[in-house]
Symmetry: C2
Subunit: 496 residues, 2 copies
Amino acid sequence: MSTPCYAELTRAYTRLYRYQHIGAIVGWDRNAMMPPKGNEARAAAEAELSALIHRTRTDPRLKQWIDAAEQEPLDELARANLREIRRDWRDANALPESLVEAKTLAGARCEHAWRSQRPANDWKGFLENFRPVVKLAREEARLLSDSTGLAPYDALMDRFEPGVRAADIDRIFGDVRQWLPGLVAGAQARQSAEKIILPQGPFPVAAQRALNREVMGLLGFDFEAGRLDESAHPFSGGVPEDVRLTTRYHEDDFARSLLGTIHETGHARYEQNLPRDWLGQPVGSARSYGIHESQSLSFEMQLARSRPFAGLLAPLLRKHFGDQPAFDPDNLNRLWTRVKPGFIRVDADEVTYPAHVILRYEIERPLVEGLIEAEDIPALWDERMQALLGLDTRGNYGDGCLQDVHWTEGAFGYFPSYTLGAMYAAQWFAVIRRQVPDLDARIGRGELAPVFDWLRANVWSQGCLWDTPELVRRASGEALNPQHFRSHLERRYLQA
Amino acid sequence: MSTPCYAELTRAYTRLYRYQHIGAIVGWDRNAMMPPKGNEARAAAEAELSALIHRTRTDPRLKQWIDAAEQEPLDELARANLREIRRDWRDANALPESLVEAKTLAGARCEHAWRSQRPANDWKGFLENFRPVVKLAREEARLLSDSTGLAPYDALMDRFEPGVRAADIDRIFGDVRQWLPGLVAGAQARQSAEKIILPQGPFPVAAQRALNREVMGLLGFDFEAGRLDESAHPFSGGVPEDVRLTTRYHEDDFARSLLGTIHETGHARYEQNLPRDWLGQPVGSARSYGIHESQSLSFEMQLARSRPFAGLLAPLLRKHFGDQPAFDPDNLNRLWTRVKPGFIRVDADEVTYPAHVILRYEIERPLVEGLIEAEDIPALWDERMQALLGLDTRGNYGDGCLQDVHWTEGAFGYFPSYTLGAMYAAQWFAVIRRQVPDLDARIGRGELAPVFDWLRANVWSQGCLWDTPELVRRASGEALNPQHFRSHLERRYLQA
């Protein structure tokens, strides 16, 4: 087979992969290691690298090679890779540099001011910086729409969740909207009589560190191919060959770091188990934000917050912190499945979380489409929070529509991925439970291989071979079906 | 002033500086942080970055800009920068890529095999890989000689010590050769009656870490602009804005890590105090390997191994390790100034160290010049070790001519920098002592500012404004004068 243009493309993308590797490591270093006075020179160095990566992705020869490679005799894998290369090329080339720069600038200005406007509850001040961000995001959506043939909001979302459309989200979130308030109420009613013993700190950082590492080991994290360190904002970074997780310790609360680390370990195992032979090419990378979140939530929600897993953790807590009544597995499980509607998305429990996402989707989509304006957000926010969670947010912008960083930087189309991730995870576990009827008993004995084997075969090893809907169909035999998420919540919160 | 070509050059070198920043951080990460399975992908990523840096330094436009900038109206600083840019350009462009690749390959093969040949004492096996390295180094020296107009060995050395010639080294080392054996014998005779109490371990790693950090603080290391971590082979890396030191701990011996860290702190302070306004341009970087070593040896030899500094360290040792008789300052000072001729350069004391360097210089120079062949090395080595240190090394290649990594990789012309560094340091302190007659008393009180202020004004702040001989003249009022080194050794080892 003669595929000279495809070969040129793979060489170009291998080079790009290596530049991105370097960028990922210095990015991790900036967050986890760099002393404060290193910041200015580092910012300049990272910007230079970003410019280089941008030049590499917009090299005019790429387009010729992509078009010519379409005519070359490629096998299925190469064809999938070419499809992902075209996607990457489109993402990098759809927008004129002037727009990218203007949006970066407006976003940075809005985000910077937001840091003090949020605590000051200053919606009016925020609005002034936010309007230009919205304007530029609409322009971005229009241009992406032109280059993809998708509707504007779909074009934004497609960068995060390839193949998923607003019509799908409408169907799925419309379904959730129906049963979620009832489920929240039901869970709260059931839990109102529960007695919970709170863990008593302090929990020394060194002991938490050792606990986290041991639990990561239990979850199969490969410490020969990754690290756990500390940073102000925990994240999963690095490269598939060398995954860098971070966490943050609070001496009065071990669970926040532990559950956060378990969450990041889900992201990490996906990266560590991507198809080794394809690494360096787009087809060898993780599928999407939603699929990535399905891994972190498989680990955190499906595994770690289950009763059997609490039974695994209890002896480890006793080992690292000494014994105390709160470490009873039933108590731990009750503690980690507590349902309580609240203002803040990132503090939300598993059951109320989707309400926060649905609310944002129902605001950001018409905002991007020009059906509402930035000024209309607070009223809509109040109305939906009342309807979905029964909370009054009027006048409380800081704990309301000013709480997230995403919109300040003009990142619209991202929020749905969080709840899609929770739903994919529930759907994966529905399949695993069908195939392994005694799954809970096995988890309780520490036999996690059935879960990891299934995820490896159906998600990790698949890279970007398929778009998201096709990956879901191949893995679970059906399209994304919110019924699995509902059943999971009902079993855990209404029937357990 | 219209200086368009000079402006182009400064832009190109700013970009290069940023790429090198990125390379320095990932290089530090590889040595201090990277888990083992990250190695393969990292090697590929770093090679890609090296190729990018090489392309940047060999961009054909640079030569035109350099030549044109010579005709532009530049101030003194810009003219010095242009001189350094030309030097960098010449270094990067003097050698054809085929030679660079062949030398890298031959060096890597020789170095890799050497790792097992040294412990096996296998000189014959080594010779086979070493011959091609020598051949390529001669070719390199010839080409560098053509492009610089210097003699071949001078051209090699000029990359490490700009402006210093073999004729200077002959004069200096010829002088040292005269008095060194007598000084070694004298010091040993004096010390033969000394009683030394050895410190009793173990010294826990956490306590050593805390001690090292405290001593670095005492020496003015800025922890807001740098870090101390651990690696198998300690080094000073990172960038001037963010210096990364490493050390290695041995629980039975705190002094190795402590004195090593003090040594690296000298390198670090030079970097942290380079002229901030010029950073990003070649004129803003450290002058040379020898001048760099003069800073680490100012800290380690001139300061740390002096009697007054032992008085500063003693209470810190007691604080971190508890008290013991060995921590008496006189005892510490005796321990750290012990003279004992030995086979191994890196284990050598301050007095015998120059002998190791002179020996290597007297072999590598005629080797590069084609006056001797690789086969002749062992006999020469034996003869010089006998003459300089009175040691019999016959047949012991592993502890003889196979002990260093430098030659395996074809790095000829580097060794003199070590002893030049020791001599510059002695010369700096001779000036400081003239200006601050009560220097020892001040050091004993922890007043180190006179030393740091002098080094800042005369070395750190000068960057690459002058070549090495001119820097030395400006700082000390005379050319490098080995008499200062001799006086320092005589005062410390024969008169103290």
